[in-house]
């Protein structure tokens, strides 16, 4: 289990970016980190990856403080997938995936047969085996993201840290990635992902952290945390969380969805406008509750 307790972080001589951040992540669950730009999501991930050192508070991995771990030791437990990776030089897909094995190699050791086997297995698992010889640079965004997941899995870490894994992907690729996240969580990986799409919290996560201005607003299951009120409070725009009945799937199952309310013609619809914060209609959008009667028809 990864436990983050009263974490505080600031960049040199500036106001704190993270204040009193506390939540935890267990194996087999996916925690979704929601928050507006500048809320400190990426900073939090960088603290988790041992790239930044927090000012106070602790991050423990199965009871062990990660600040006391070496970069290498940390990498054996935590793997990272960034928003989008750019490589200056044309590495092949297999070479990129094999980079995930470096944390397990001794200094001066060559890539072993076992490393190659692991790389081949994860590529097979993610269905990208046939592109192993291809140039990473020429792949599409969705394919690249798959390669990044393969590299993270090749690292054989139990926890995955995903920074907006679906950003800049088309609709089908987003769903492909979300499916995979669910599958990996079911297999026992502990996953922490940031996203700008609150719907993903319902689709893929078991717990949600709402982060605003460096502090945790809420932490809990998506049903309890991702509500119209909380999202409106988080993003300072009116959002309606409602339930959609999935007619085509047969049994009339439902799925919660988040719908932003656009105010057409209202020019003052800017994000973060201080005037708006006190507007009662702003934090309570005219959203008529839940239930199939009001549900959107899909």
């Amino acid at each position: 289990m990864i436990e983050i307790k009263q974490l505080e972080f600031r960049y040199k001589r500036r106001r704190p970016v993270l204040r009193d951040v506390t939540f935890h992540l267990e194996r087999g669950e996916c925690v979704c980190l929601l928050g507006p730009n500048g809320a400190g999501k990426t900073t939090l991930l960088k603290c988790l990856l041992n790239y930044f050192r927090p000012e106070s508070g602790s991050i423990t991995l199965d009871g062990k403080d990660i600040c006391r771990m070496s970069v290498r030791e940390c990498a054996a437990h935590l793997a990272y997938v960034s928003q989008s990776t750019q490589l200056t030089f044309p590495y092949s897909v297999e070479e990129v995936v094999l980079m995930g094995r470096v944390a397990h190699m001794r200094l001066g050791a060559s890539v072993s047969e076992r490393d190659r086997k692991i790389a081949a297995e994860v590529m097979e698992y993610l269905g990208i085996r046939e592109m192993s010889e291809e140039n990473f640079q020429t792949l599409s965004g969705g394919e690249r993201q798959m390669v990044m997941f393969a590299r993270a899995l090749a690292q054989q870490a139990k926890y995955l840290i995903l920074d907006e894994p679906t950003a800049s992907l088309d609709y089908s690729n987003q769903i492909k990635i979300l499916n995979m996240i669910c599958k990996l969580a079911a297999e026992g990986y502990g996953i922490l992902m940031t996203t700008h799409s609150p719907d993903h919290a319902f689709l893929a996560s078991s717990k949600v952290v709402l982060l605003r201005e460096g502090t945790v607003l809420e932490f809990g299951s998506p049903e309890l945390v991702v509500t119209s009120e909380n999202l409106s409070r988080l993003y300072h725009v009116p959002v309606c969380v409602t339930e959609a009945v999935l007619k085509n799937t047969g049994g009339g199952t439902s799925q919660k969805v988040c719908v932003p309310i656009l105010r057409k013609g209202d020019e003052s619809n800017e994000t973060g406008s201080p005037k708006k914060k006190s507007d009662p209609a702003y934090s309570h959008p005219s959203c008529s509750g839940h239930g199939p009667r009001h549900a959107g028809r899909l």
């Binding site: 990856l49 790239y51 970069v71 030089f89 044309p90 470096v102």
Partner: protein, 340 residues
């Protein structure tokens, strides 16, 4: 996979063969004509009994002039190429050359300063080495003050330091005696293998061996650096430590080479690009192939200088004359390939 491995082994064997042939041919090139068969006999005579059929001057030419010059050519060319390949991977920038952090500018100033004081050849070398390393240390200090985004600020710090030492060099040039000192400074800045002796080989060989070994040990980590600092950290690579090791070894390789041979440009920039065409971008292979091609290229250039023209053209000038069109060709080809 196995096929790729065999292809690489064949490539290395081929390049080594080429380098060996070039090595022996190089003995026969120069203003004093020596046939290759004689060279072979002279070399053999050191370890076995061979009937002496040559004049004593031949032995002197082979052992005191040509052997050091040829060995220096291989070591300097190979060292500069590996240094360039390492920096390009570290800085994630194919346009980077070994003097990115100001080694050459520092060394140039150091050498000029020693010449201004009418220093001996050894003093000039030492001064060049010292100021070359000093320039890189200053660049690193500026970079580390800038903080986290170290790699980018380091490049800018290198530009600052280079400019500073270029300015200081101009100051030295202004004070230099225009009849003797200024020409020797100018020629030193254009590079030459001509002044090296066996003592220089004795210094360059161990430095090159140690630096290459260290870089080879860290070869997998260096590849990971190409993904950027954040991701490399997440992949278990201590970016600061490995980055420092790359900077230290590459700087040492360049500084020692420059202090012996003066400033020789383009090799460190162009050769890694040629090597990538043959072997791909993986650092473990890139460094080996870069070293072999770099050594071969430098030897070839020096042979042209010694063999073709009666006036000895400066080495740095020839590498630039050959390097620039080759680089332009590579650029056009790579743009065409990415367009199609």
């Amino acid at each position: 996979m196995a096929k790729e491995r065999i292809r690489f082994d064949l490539l290395v064997a081929g390049l080594m063969g080429l380098l060996t042939i070039c090595f022996f041919i190089s003995f026969g090139v120069g203003s004093y004509p020596v046939s290759i068969i004689t060279v072979w006999d002279v070399l053999r005579s050191r370890v076995m009994d061979v009937a002496v059929t040559w004049e004593p001057a031949v032995e002197k030419v082979v052992f005191q002039v040509r052997i050091p010059r040829i060995l220096l050519g291989i070591l300097v060319g190979g060292g500069l190429a590996v240094s360039g390949a390492s920096y390009q991977t570290l800085f994630k920038n194919p346009m980077v050359s070994p003097d990115i952090l100001g080694v050459s500018a520092g060394a140039g100033f150091g050498a000029a300063l020693a010449m201004l004081q009418s220093g001996s050849w050894a003093e000039i070398q030492l001064s060049a080495l010292f100021f070359g390393l000093l320039a890189v240390v200053i660049a690193n200090l500026i970079g580390s003050i800038c903080g986290k985004a170290e790699i980018t600020s380091l490049v800018l710090a290198g530009i600052i330091v280079s400019s500073l030492f270029h300015a200081l060099l101009s100051v030295v040039k202004t004070y230099a005696d225009t009849d003797s000192q200024l020409p020797s400074i100018t020629f030193w800045l254009m590079g030459s293998l001509g002044k090296g002796d066996m003592g220089d080989v004795g210094m360059l060989l161990p430095v090159t061996a140690v630096c290459l070994t260290v870089l080879f040990l860290f070869r997998n980590q260096i590849d990971v650096l190409a993904t950027g600092e954040e991701e490399a950290t997440a992949l278990g690579v201590n970016v600061r430590r490995v980055g420092l090791i790359v900077i230290l070894t590459s700087t040492l390789l360049t500084a020692v080479a420059v202090s012996i041979c003066g400033i020789i440009g383009w090799v460190g920039l162009v050769v890694p690009h040629i090597a990538r065409i043959f072997t791909g971008v993986k650092y473990s292979r890139l460094m080996i192939v870069s070293f072999l091609i770099g050594g071969f290229f430098m030897l070839l250039m020096d042979n042209i200088i010694r063999g073709v023209s009666s006036v000895e053209l400066p080495l740095g000038v020839l590498t630039a004359l050959v390097g620039t069109p080759v680089f332009a060709l590579l650029l056009i080809q790579s743009r065409r390939r990415s367009a199609s």
